[in-house]
């Protein structure tokens, strides 16, 4: 099995956006055949295959931002005339040094010789200094800010005054947590068909200049379930104590921006096609990141979807999402990753997604939540059904 590690194809590229795959799992490729188109901050490029063999796994979906150094795809080279793998230089013998682990105070310090010299002159113990340079490197300012006349080090504090977005969000979050009766249900779903559908439709979307993301398809899956479970597509009139059920699904989408968390709304996703949802999401997230949202863009949501997949490097298995009041529920979905699972009594690896649904237990019972979760999971596992429903 050959793992194609995403290379730094442009001298200092740290990540790339996957535009589309040119192959699918099971395809036979020859060395040099085009595998995918990626976009870096320098150029859009077609990546050729480094080896001949059979594509065994596409590790990402179009729209994903991939770090250089991650496994990009796997190629089964067993039946191909595989070229010899690069001989690794012999590492310094591990046994020799493992008997006495080097004192952490010296081995973990990363600092330039000039910084070390300065620290020595000032009598600063580098082991006690927290580096603020790249990768935790100790830089001159760390030494100089921490040193006092007598060579003692002291800790410093910093005050952060939240901006208006952050303040509004803080009030909103606290009020929701203090008012609503939060209950959370965590579940998992198989994502084989979900990924296959994205892979199938990705190039078509691309051809129409649409970025088809997992979030768009999750939105359609949730939207379809919401039509059948109106209590989750509702808002609360706290003054009257009424639950207001909505026919149209106006989806609030959690979006991390430089100025803080934003939750813009895409209206009527239940009557929109998948591509239309994808387009609307791209548009609104772009405007959110540019700080170009209008007030009406963040009003009128009836349900919230939060997908942290694009940011996740760790595998997050559950969260406790806070409901975006006055709504009654919020769904969080994870990045899709390969995980162990049982199929027909056998342990296997396959793509899975974790989900967490928080709902307001004042208006929604556990049984309602189970029914809703059943449908959401079913739609994720057979997304074509969710698209057909409208």
């Amino acid at each position: 099995m050959y793992e194609f590690i995403l290379p730094d194809i442009g001298e200092g590229i740290s990540e790339a956006l996957l535009i589309n795959w040119s192959v699918k799992a099971g395809d036979r490729v020859e060395e040099g055949d085009e595998l995918a188109t990626i976009s870096t901050d320098k150029v859009d490029v077609e990546l050729p295959s480094p080896r001949s063999g059979v594509v065994s796994e596409l590790c990402w979906t179009p729209g994903d931002t991939i770090k250089v150094g991650s496994v990009f795809l796997r190629i089964d080279t067993s039946d191909a005339a595989d070229t010899a793998p690069a001989a690794k230089p012999s590492k310094p013998k591990a046994e020799q040094k493992s008997k006495t682990p080097a004192a952490p105070a010296t081995s973990s310090i990363v600092a330039a010789p000039s910084t070390r010299k300065r620290a020595q002159d000032l009598g600063v113990d580098l082991g006690a200094v927290t580096g603020t340079g790249p990768g935790g490197r100790i830089v001159l300012r760390d030494i100089e800010s921490g040193a006092t006349a007598d060579g003692e080090t002291h800790s410093s504090t910093r005050h952060e005054t939240p901006n208006s977005v952050r303040k509004a969000m803080a009030d909103h979050m606290a009020r929701s947590v203090h008012t609503l009766a939060h209950s959370t249900m965590n579940f998992e779903a198989r994502a084989d068909a979900f990924l296959a559908l994205l892979a199938k439709l990705g190039p078509k979307a691309q051809a129409r200049d649409i970025r088809l993301t997992p979030t768009a398809l999750f939105a359609k899956c949730a939207g379809s379930a919401l039509t059948d479970h109106p209590r989750f597509n509702a808002t609360i009139d706290e003054d009257k104590g009424d639950l207001i059920l909505h026919e149209s699904v106006n989806l609030s989408v959690a979006l991390a921006s430089e100025r803080g968390l934003l939750v813009p709304v895409v209206n009527n996703i239940n009557t929109m096609s998948l591509f239309a949802v994808a387009r609307a999401l791209s548009d609104i997230t772009a405007r959110g990141r540019d700080g170009a949202l209008d007030p009406q863009d963040v009003r009128g949501g009836t349900f919230t979807l939060s997908n942290t997949g694009n940011m996740e490097r760790a595998t997050i298995t559950s969260t406790r999402p806070i409901i975006n009041a006055p709504q009654t529920a919020i769904l969080w979905v994870s990045r899709i990753t390969e995980r162990p699972r049982v199929s027909e009594g056998k342990l296997e690896a396959g793509p899975m997604v974790s989900c967490s649904l928080s709902f307001d237990h004042r208006f929604i019972d556990g049984a309602d939540a189970v029914a809703f979760v059943n449908d959401v999971a079913a739609h994720i596992e057979s997304p074509e059904q969710a698209l057909a429903a409208d």
């Binding site: 290379p7 194809i9 077609e46 010899a84 010789p113």
Partner: protein, 392 residues
């Protein structure tokens, strides 16, 4: 060599290029005679130029062409290797095959060559095995630079080839000084150096030219004017009409040749080499074009028009040389097919062998800097080894 006033060309039958590339907006080669760009063959490989056909026999001509094709095939493969993460970096040379191969052939093995970028053919023509080049691209331990240089920046002391210094133009005075040393010592070694149009804006170029004009060392300076110094077009590189005329200021003999015409490059370089012991230096401006990216870190779509590339592609040196060989009855489709197949399979073998070679031990990168390691380098080395130890 029959020399004619390039402007007198109008008296002869105008070369017929069937409109192909002639009088182009971007590529001057269709209008070479009027622009003083010396040519032997036209776009169709016909002997219509104002330079006399050089004295090269069938073997020499086909060997030159075969090398140009191998050089192109290396670029095709290198690009794929870089894009698929197997080679760290790539400096493409597509379209630039003629200048360095023909100039190398015009020199003798004992002569010294100071390389620029994009010149793999020079090493191969002097006998470096293909696997040595690929071992350098892959940064393997047992190539002449011990896996420490940027891929494609080649050289080999054993072959009298000085590797390019990445700082463009910085080595022109070195080449000039070495040539002067040979003259003082009285041996008959001659010198050749390549550099780009951008290098002529550096002080070193002018220092070397001035020195060359005064002391007349036996050297040929070849300025490969490929139209772009990374993203800088010739129009803002210099206000001079040509790069060759810069030689006039320093009393250095100079000429302009079609850099996509290997026969013109050979003829001009051979003549310059022959004249070197008596007359000293020559500055040759070879007018050519980089069809590919500047490097693998570049994106030429951001600064040049696709039409420009298309126009130059009609003057592809490989096509012209092949057509010339065909006209002479030295070449056919079968030979062409066989040549490409052989180049590809030779490259396949070289890739396989080179990639299987060991990488250098990381600790070795501190060697060869000082005769005895300084405390600072010792410390850096210790840190690197610690870091490697702590990684899984």
């Amino acid at each position: 060599m029959a020399e004619e006033n390039p402007l007198a060309g109008k008296s002869r039958a105008k070369p017929k290029t069937a409109g192909k590339g002639a009088g182009g907006k971007h590529c001057p080669l269709g209008n070479a005679r009027a622009l003083g760009i010396r040519q032997v063959i036209d776009a169709e490989g016909r002997l219509t130029g104002d330079l006399a056909e050089p004295d090269l026999d069938r073997d020499a001509l086909t060997r030159l062409y075969e090398m140009m094709v191998l050089v192109r095939a290396i670029d095709d493969r290198g690009w794929i290797l870089q894009r698929s993460g197997r080679v760290e970096f790539w400096i493409p040379h597509k379209g630039l095959e003629a200048v360095h191969t023909a100039a190398t052939v015009a020199f003798e093995q004992k002569d010294w060559i100071f390389l620029g970028y994009r010149h793999p053919g020079t090493l191969l023509l002097r006998g470096a095995p293909l696997v040595q080049l690929f071992a350098q691209f892959f940064g393997r331990r047992d190539e002449p630079f011990k896996g420490r240089r940027l891929p494609t920046l080649m050289g080999d002391r054993r072959l009298n080839i000085v590797p390019m210094t990445t700082q463009v133009g910085s080595y022109i005075p070195h080449a000039c000084g070495a040539a002067w040393a040979a003259k003082i010592k009285g041996d008959d070694t001659r010198f050749l150096t390549f550099f780009g149009d951008g290098s002529t804006s550096r002080g070193e170029f002018h220092s070397a030219m001035n020195f060359a004009g005064v002391y007349k060392p036996p050297i040929v300076f070849i300025c490969e004017n490929n139209g772009w110094a990374v993203t800088t077009p010739t129009s803002v590189q210099t206000a001079s009409a040509t790069f060759s005329q810069k030689g006039d200021a320093y009393a250095v003999r100079n000429m302009r040749v079609d850099g996509n015409d290997p026969l013109a490059v050979y003829a001009a370089t051979k003549e310059a080499r022959d004249l070197a012991p008596k007359e000293g230096p020559t500055l040759i401006e070879a007018v050519t074009y980089r069809l590919g990216f500047h490097t693998s870190s570049d994106n030429p779509d951001l600064y040049r028009e696709p039409e420009e590339v298309e126009e130059w592609a009609q003057w592809d040196p490989l096509d012209r040389m092949r057509k010339h060989l065909e006209l002479k009855g030295h070449w056919d489709d079968k030979l062409e097919e066989g040549l490409w197949a052989r180049c590809k399979s030779d490259i396949d073998d070289a890739v396989k062998q080179a990639e299987a070679m060991p990488l250098p031990d990381p600790a070795s990168m501190f060697d060869d800097t000082f005769e005895e390691m300084t405390w600072m380098i010792e410390e850096q080395k210790a840190h690197l080894l610690d870091d490697l130890e702590s990684q899984p």
